[in-house]
Amino acid sequence: MTDAITPAAIPASAAPPRRDIGIKRRYAAERRFRAYGIAAISFGLLFLFLLLWSVVSKGYTAFQQTTITIPVEFSEQIIDPDNERQTDPRKLMTANYPNVARNALAKVLGVSTDDRAALREVNGLISDSIRTQLRDMVIANPAIIGTTQTVSLLAHGNVDSIFKGQVDLTVGEQNRRISDRQVGWMNELSASGALAKQFNAGIFVNGASSRPEAAGVGVALIGSFYMMLIVLVLALPIGVAASIYLEEFAPKNRFTDLIEVNINNLAAVPSIVYGLLGLAVFINFMGLPRSASLVGGLVLTLMTLPTIIIATRAALKAVPPSIRAAALGLGASKMQTIFHHVLPLAMPGILTGTIIGLAHALGETAPLLLIGMVAFVANYPTTPLDPSTALPVQIYMWANEAERAFVERTSGAIIILLLFLLVMNVGAILLRRRFERRW
């Protein structure tokens, strides 16, 4: 119904010669823009590389630990001089195992057992944690008392640092934690092959320890695992249900607009605020225990919910309306349409959003500090109600330690955390591929 424009309506003279104006400039602008883009990406990659390089170069040594492998005589005179172990099993728990180890090392180094000063220095080579190592060996098999076994004893953290070349030995002896004599012994042991680096399983299984050589992220891993489980179990169903209701069922009015705005705002609330909320609600009001991964999980659930809701709503919106129309046109009810067709198609988006939310929660530290998860926990938590820590909090705590050996532990724990995040992201990509359908 538009009026036809007759050719006569256009002035014949107005054929402006503008074709060659600006074309070069336009191409130049495009080339410039591409260059900016490439520069931006290179910049990003450079920093990513720097980050990874600094973490990995500092942290990879944490996965090896120096040990001293020597024959250890489980002398009955030291462990159980009065032969009481039959009547009092506790005797074996409290025996003087450090002396067993010290004497064994002194024997190898040819130090007289009368030279107390030298013995103290010998003792400085071994970690205090061998107390539990030897104790566990004896309790598991009391028959080894009186025999000589070859045992890999954990070296002291300072020995470990020197052996890995992290300590400058040109510094004056009085400014070092390891004396020249001890360094001499180390060289001796190293030459004989007794002092060697082994794979450090302890960093994965041990709990908190003030001795860096015996400290590990075991408790933190379990705490993080519990929290991830709680976040997944709570946030995914709640988030998906909320999104489906908001996206598909809720009437569009002021009230739902308000809810929508607030959800979007919640996603931008600083995480430490969620920590305060958790402290006030879960610990002070509901009386849940401090430092528990249950509380941590609940707080992280609150924090993750907006992310999941936003991702899920976007995924639901992205399902083509033609699919909805097709199902409705066949006489499917709204519920059937959503659960049979829309939700399966939105699944990749929902899962990706969830995993990104989980990864975000896994790396979150600030709210956990407020609910007391920054704690020295040496024992494994058996339930989510027991005190525990989380991976990022463990990193935070180690970063505050003074010993040189904690520096590599900090980076090592960061590597572990990054590996978990990598695994989760790969999982997200695989799920996406698995569920992705074309229409």
Binding site: G329, G331, A332
Partner: protein, 271 residues
């Protein structure tokens, strides 16, 4: 389809049409999208076992009217329908009427082929399954085969029933959608420009199919193509600016319409 059977069908239908029975009756149907009124008191009856074509320029309300017939407009926010539409004797906008059941009786085929991103088999089986039309697997197999036969797709897809429905060509996809609509045994099939996304060969196939389906179903089709309306329909309704301009036998409509606007539109003077 050969000429003989076509003539036979034509004859049988002629007989049926002589005692005109209206499958759906629209009385004073008006539709509002919020404040905007899209349809003005349309009175249009749909005859049984007839193809009724709705024509008119874009935005004239023909699709809106079509979507009233199975209440697809309900899914649009702010859309309000007044007036009365009956299917047989049931007022479809009555509170007692279950929309789900209505849409099982009045099926729909859309402009763009929209198969579910599932297997061909699942595409057809979905409707019968949610309506409980098949008791077991063998029943379902039969329904699927019969529906695909009806849509003239069986011979093309019988060896790949479990491949994705979205892997078919555009024309095949549209026939799959028709088969899917047929599978729930509707009484009326609504088609909203079913051929606008298809090439001429696929269009010819779909038109032929519409022709055959007429024996068992009442069909209402919205089309932008005058030729298509002339080819497939027996009755034609012309809409303009939300009003029903004229409704007549297709032959009369395209040769000697009562209304000047119809003549102008068919001649291509506007639209």
């Amino acid at each position: 389809m050969n000429m003989m059977s076509e003539a036979a069908v034509e004859k049988a239908l002629e007989q049926k049409m002589s005692d005109v029975s209206h499958k759906m009756i629209g009385k004073d149907v008006s539709v509002y999208y919020g404040e905007k009124r899209a349809l003005f008191d349309v009175n249009l009856n749909v005859r049984e076992n007839t193809v009724t074509a709705l024509i008119g320029p874009s935005g004239c309300g023909k699709s809106t009217f079509l979507r009233c017939l199975n209440r697809m407009n309900d899914t649009i926010e702010n859309c309000r329908v007044t007036g009365k539409i009956t299917l047989d004797t049931d007022d479809i906008y009555d509170k007692e009427i279950d929309v789900v059941e209505l849409r099982a009786r009045v099926g729909m085929v859309f402009q763009k082929p929209n198969p579910f991103p599932k297997s061909i088999y699942e595409n057809i089986a979905y409707g019968p399954r949610i309506h409980g039309l098949a008791r077991n697997k063998a029943d379902m197999d039969q329904v699927v085969e019969a529906s695909l036969q009806r849509a003239g797709l069986w011979s093309e897809v019988k060896d790949r029933l479990h491949e994705s429905g979205t892997g078919l060509s555009g024309g095949q996809q549209q026939r799959l959608c028709i088969a899917r609509a047929v599978a729930v045994s509707p009484e009326v099939i609504l088609m909203d420009e079913p051929c606008s996304a298809l090439d001429p060969i696929a269009t010819a196939k779909v038109e032929e199919l519409i022709h055959e389906l007429r024996a068992n179903y009442t069909i209402v089709i919205v089309t932008h193509s005058m030729q298509q309306a002339a080819r497939v329909s027996q009755r034609t309704a012309m809409f303009h600016l939300g009003q029903l301009v004229e409704e007549n036998d297709t032959d009369k409509m395209f040769t000697n319409p009562d209304d000047q606007r119809t003549q102008d539109y068919i001649m291509g003077r506007f639209g």
